[in-house]
């Protein structure tokens, strides 16, 4: 993985940049020491590290705008960062870049039950939103596993999902508006407390744009009433094919669970060793299916899924009878990553996405690849929506093993694309999958995306080196090449 070469012209400007930012934010709003900058050297993808040139910590939208304006004038690269929980290196700093830390914009500005929304600053944590409205019986639906730490600004940048997005959608389906600051410092209000905007869908475009188009400082989120009843099922299977079939048949029969997760035997046992969740250790795979809504519907769905599971020879079926028991079912799943961390010095978490029915096939192919590479893989899936999280186990202290794990991961993602899926279901492209983009997109597809980048940030100063395998100059991308002179198309039907 190669990042853009540091530009000496930018490094030379550091003293002047420091002076201007200090005037704006005070020294308290900057991190300049080697020791201090090191804190920001990595995000959730810890395999890659790089200290930023300087860190700015603005506290207001207006300060964010001013920081960007200064950087734009001085041609300084900027990497925005929320809580730094990205799993794809989206917030990996640049040696010649300013890191824009947004954690101080952490106020909840407005809670508006009449309009079923809340307006929050970008540094508010995902769970912080739910906590703010929970007493009144509301919650914010997207629930990435990092929700205790990750910020809503980061969620918008990555279009974060979580286990409940099967029923409730991703971030993009749960926000109504943002305040967006362009690299030029210009401030845009997109959307608001209403459902539909009459502009181009800039909100849809910004969501999941990985900090390459602008910096979001405020978000209007939809809040939902908490469901009346929630129950979970824990179902064990003797083979992974049957577990996969249970997922497909459930969805095909018209039942959309709130979440439907799958773990394979390695993940089950790692979780059991870690937190004794009560999972069947001998199962080849377990499913955790959660249903929420009104009692009669939840009961009905659980009954239907039990019948499907029995037909597929489930080896165990448990239904939660209390909140405590439901949380117990989830405990092992939620602890799956640290649990796997205990059985291997390092692991590399992948995030491919496939059509649901391809689950058994990709599991088989991954097993073959595991043998080929000599690396074990534990599987945790958002099975209901076909989003895989294979955890490749490796030891970074063994020379060459990280590269082997990366190659194994790349092969899994290529398989996902071949099966009609996607390189990334919810973690983002970042630096991690940047070089694999041509697996999924042609040059024309990527050029069109890069032209959009030019519409927002023509000098490529905002989070460069992420998402796109090559950077092209906007002037080159904007040239129109057509084969002219052919007229009239007599063979094409008229209407």
């Amino acid at each position: 993985m190669k990042m853009p070469e540091p530009e000496q012209a930018i490094l030379d400007q550091l003293p002047e940049l420091h002076r201007r930012l200090s005037n704006l934010l005070g020294e308290d709003g900057l991190v300049t020491t080697e020791h201090g900058r090191k804190v920001f050297e990595s995000d959730g993808l810890t395999a890659y590290k790089q200290s930023p040139m300087i860190v700015a910590l603005p506290s207001t939208t207006s300060q964010v705008s001013d920081v960007l304006k200064i950087c734009d004038e001085m041609n300084i690269k900027v990497v925005p960062r929320g809580a730094g929980t990205s799993l794809s290196g989206g917030a990996l700093p640049l040696a010649d870049g300013l890191m824009l830390g947004l954690s101080r914009l952490n106020r909840i500005l407005d809670i508006d039950y009449d309009n079923r929304c809340a307006v929050v600053e970008c540094g508010v944590t995902n769970l912080g939103i739910t906590n703010a409205v929970s007493e009144d019986g509301f919650y914010y639906a997207p629930d990435p596993s990092s929700q205790i730490a990750c910020t809503i600004g980061g969620n918008v940048a990555e279009n974060s999902g979580g286990v409940h997005c099967l029923k409730y959608g991703l971030t993009t389906n749960n926000i109504l508006g943002v305040k967006l600051i362009l690299m030029s410092g210009e401030i845009l209000e997109i959307g608001g407390k209403y459902l539909q905007e009459s502009d181009y869908d800039l909100l849809g475009l910004i969501t999941g744009s990985e900090g390459l188009l602008g910096v979001v400082t405020e978000v209007t989120v939809r809040i939902l009433p908490k469901p009346d009843t929630v129950h979970a099922m824990l179902i064990g299977f003797g083979d992974v094919e049957s577990a996969g079939a249970c997922v497909s048949e459930t969805i095909a029969s018209g039942i959309i669970p709130a979440g439907m997760e799958m773990m394979d035997n390695i993940a089950i046992n790692a979780a059991e060793d870690y937190c004794h969740a009560g999972y069947p250790r001998d199962a080849a795979a377990i499913l955790i299916a959660e249903f929420d809504g009104i009692t009669s519907e939840v009961d009905y769905f659980i009954d239907r899924v039990s019948k499907i599971a029995k037909k597929l020879n489930a080896t165990s079926i448990a239904i939660s009878k209390s909140e405590e028991e439901r949380n117990g079912f989830w405990a092992g799943r939620k602890a799956a990553f640290p649990a796997v961390g205990r059985i291997s010095p390092d692991y590399y978490c992948m995030d491919g996405s496939i059509p649901r029915k391809k689950l058994p096939e990709i599991l088989k192919r991954m097993k073959e690849l595991s043998e080929q590479y000599g690396l074990k893989v534990a599987n945790v899936f958002h099975a209901g929506d076909g989003n895989l999280h294979p955890l490749i186990l490796y030891d970074a202290n063994i020379p060459g093993e990280l590269i082997k794990a990366e190659d194994f991961g790349a092969d899994i993602l290529k398989l996902c694309v071949q099966m009609g899926g996607a390189l990334t279901g919810e973690h983002g492209v970042g630096v991690e999958k940047r070089d694999l983009m041509p697996e999924m997109f042609t040059k024309d597809d990527l050029n069109q995306q890069e032209r959009l980048k030019c519409a927002f940030d023509p000098k490529h100063r905002l989070n460069p080196g992420k998402m796109f395998p090559e950077l092209h100059r906007c002037a080159e991308l904007g040239k129109v090449h057509v084969h002219g002179g052919k007229l009239l198309f007599p063979e094409i039907p008229r209407f």
């Binding site: 997005c165 959608g169 991703l170 401030i187 009459s198 800039l202 009104i294 983002g428 002219g484």
Partner: protein
């Protein structure tokens, strides 16, 4: 010379657009043209219809996914999905008669191009929330694709959403992949009689924030109601086993107000009328506005404009209003759906920064301004 093209392969779309780029000759991009009156008038000498991209190329009911061309007729599509107990959850409307055309003629292309959604929008999302991927040809004459066919996909920018609702100003779309939903097993509606605007908005809000997942909340004033009183309508859908529990819970909120319950068939007729904006048929000369507002401001908008005819959908988040005035909103967006489009704006005015950005986005797809120029004012 006027030329109208209706190709059926992407290469021809690409060649036609490329040729018009060379000649700097704008093209009217449409499917079958039934929604072409939406937007500012365009001065184009040629039209490119994508109506011949009219095949369902992939339908996997068990995966809840469909890939199809813009020319697929909406009525036929709904019927195909219904056969498998599925639907487009955003409830695509038929604006045919509203715009002076026949009912049932519209295609999925117009729905996606204009991002049109029906009464379920407030709880289920808009057309743009169900789009998983697109293929099309930009104003560079290049074919491109974005997104894919799986639900979870954050690979690259979400260009699919951007081109949805762009009214053909960014690309000619030749294929969409959409997320489907299971059809609800049963539905009923509760009608509450005699509320005024303020009471109706309050009650709709109260119901919308309770956890019983209603799929329609609308209010029709007395003068356009079919029942000699104003109607606030609540739609309840779900598995049959859940309908009674849901209904009882909603009736508790409704309390002592006068109500009636409409069973499935009647409920479907009511919601089709609300979805397809039937209260505003047949067309009149008074401009018809579609207005998206924070629900708590809907009654104020009506008080300010005092229109003769209006109704609320989306739990108060959508106003349909016929008025000679341009809507004045504290917050929100509007579209001129019908009326003299000379002298009246199609949508609310944008601030200069947004307008400039929209123009740059347009240029990034269509630098020579070939595709539906000026339809959205840029």
């Amino acid at each position: 010379m006027t030329e109208n093209y209706s190709p059926s392969i992407i290469k021809d779309v690409s060649d036609i657009i490329s040729d018009h780029i060379v000649r700097e000759c704008p093209l009217d991009i449409r499917t079958n043209g039934s929604l072409i009156k939406l937007g500012h008038p365009m001065v184009t000498k040629s039209a490119l219809s994508l109506k011949n991209f009219n095949q369902i190329t992939l339908y996997e009911p068990e995966e809840l996914v469909i890939t199809l061309g813009p020319g697929v007729n909406l009525t036929e599509l709904k019927s195909t999905l219904k056969d498998k107990n599925q639907e487009l959850r955003f409830e695509p409307p038929d604006y045919g008669p509203l715009l002076g055309n026949l009912a049932g003629q519209g295609s999925i292309g117009g729905i996606i191009g204009c991002n049109l959604s029906g009464p379920k929008r407030f709880m289920a999302g808009a057309a743009r929330d169900f789009i998983l991927g697109v293929e099309g040809v930009s104003g560079y004459g290049h074919g491109f694709k974005a997104g894919g066919r799986v639900v979870k996909n954050v690979t690259g920018y979400d260009v699919s959403k951007l081109v949805t609702g762009a009214y053909g100003t960014l690309a000619g779309l030749t294929s969409f992949t959409l997320k489907l939903s299971p059809l609800a097993e049963a539905e009923i509606s509760i009608i509450v009689h005699g509320l005024d605007n303020v009471e109706a908005i309050k009650l709709m809000s109260k119901i919308a924030i309770c956890p019983f997942e209603t799929s329609g909340l609308a209010y029709v004033p007395e003068n356009i109601s079919t029942k000699k009183s104003s109607l606030m309508v609540v739609r309840i859908e779900g598995v049959s086993a859940s309908l009674k529990e849901r209904t009882d819970a909603i009736l508790k909120i409704i309390g002592s107000r006068s109500f009636e319950i409409c069973q499935s068939e009647e409920s479907k007729i009511i919601w089709k009328a609300i979805c397809d904006v039937e209260p505003f048929n047949p067309p009149t000369n008074i401009p018809l506005w579609k207005i998206s507002v924070p629900p708590s401001q809907a009654a104020d908008v009506i008080a300010k404009h005092n229109p003769d005819f209006y109704y609320f959908d989306w739990a108060g988040g959508l106003i349909w209003m016929s008025s000679n005035d341009i809507p004045k909103l504290k917050s929100g967006a509007f579209w001129l759906i019908r009326g003299p489009n000379k002298g009246l704006p199609f949508t609310n005015q944008k601030d200069p920064v947004t307008k400039a950005l929209m123009q740059r986005v347009k240029n990034s797809f269509d630098p020579k301004n070939i595709l539906n120029p000026k339809r959205l004012g840029i």
